[in-house]
Symmetry: C2
Subunit: 201 residues, 2 copies
Amino acid sequence: MPERPGGRTARVRASVLRAAGDLLVESGFARLDLGDLARRAEVGKTTVYRRWGSVTAVVTDMLLEMAVESVPRADTGSLLGDLRANARLVVRTLTDRRQGPLFKAMLAAATSDVDTAEALKRFYATRIAEWAPCVTDAAARGEVPADTDAEEVIRAVSAPLYYRLVTGTGELDDAVADRAAEAAVAAAKAGVFRRGEHALD
Amino acid sequence: MPERPGGRTARVRASVLRAAGDLLVESGFARLDLGDLARRAEVGKTTVYRRWGSVTAVVTDMLLEMAVESVPRADTGSLLGDLRANARLVVRTLTDRRQGPLFKAMLAAATSDVDTAEALKRFYATRIAEWAPCVTDAAARGEVPADTDAEEVIRAVSAPLYYRLVTGTGELDDAVADRAAEAAVAAAKAGVFRRGEHALD
DNA sequence: TCCTTAACGGGACTGTGGTGCCATTAAGGT
DNA sequence: ACCTTAATGGCACCACAGTCCCGTTAAGGA
């Protein structure tokens, strides 16, 4: 029983995912209709319902697609420089005319579907792991304690930005990005993100 | 033309909002059907559609209801103590069997409806303002710079917790809460959250 | 090149989420 | 106590998202 993911099938998938992105940006997650999606992608309605079957499944597939393409981490020579680059990248992504609504849709989809939630978790785990070396390098340079939890630091940079995105409180610009990076560095240097038990000063 | 929000109307609203909470906890935001909601609340389907008209509108009304009841801030005598209390409260809320799914539903609803987003923003703005005095008091005690942005510090405490909630990366327990509080304090003491322009060290 | 069959597409169908209509109930003022 | 009318509830109705069926297309192996 031969598999056949090539040619037409791949073309259909690409067309549907691209159209889904367009519709999510235009109308948002809640108003995304699979009938519209099929028409927009110039693909049979039956095909969309058979291969994906639900809006969340389409979003999940988009996430798997996005997880493939990796974003190279920065290497400015200082932890603050690297994290600032990371924070600005995140802000640029979340405020991007196209990617912003896309990320919001994905977060929304993940709250109501376990498969999407799992895909989202993997996506972020991957992204975080890609940037963690910034912190381990900084630890090697002696900028932060050697037993600093690198991934925890990366999460600390993104956290204030996503908090603003989902709660709507506060702006989302480069100034906020810089502050997020500075806060993460200050906390890391103070030893807040050291692994395991440690006394508080 | 007399208004009449009392008696039966209020009873219907209370019944619907309570039922909505139950259904959101049981089935989640995406599967909430207004027909089911009406039956569960023992209220006419027409009434639900006339007064609210959409799932997001019901969620928005729940948010307005929740915004009324205020949560008293802590006053332990130290900034770290206060923020730790705040962080643990947030974690307890987000991991609560009932409130957790409720908050997820509200965040999801806010991404697809501007009215809900506005209500959510007001809700958090209120909560943040209630806890801001912890920081201004600490500034008065000299724990942090006098020109520290109090609300920014409070946001910094919640941010890592909400980041975990929406991305699914990492645990959500008291240890994380404590680290969030410690990180915010460390950054605040380092002057990261001072208002206006300031040089980086 | 040919053959098998996985995958797609069109069109008819249906279950149900959402609306319109109107009689009934009960706030709230006098 | 009575009257006005805002608000509710039941029922019939409708539009359309999602399913089914079946003929058609084109991967991919021999």
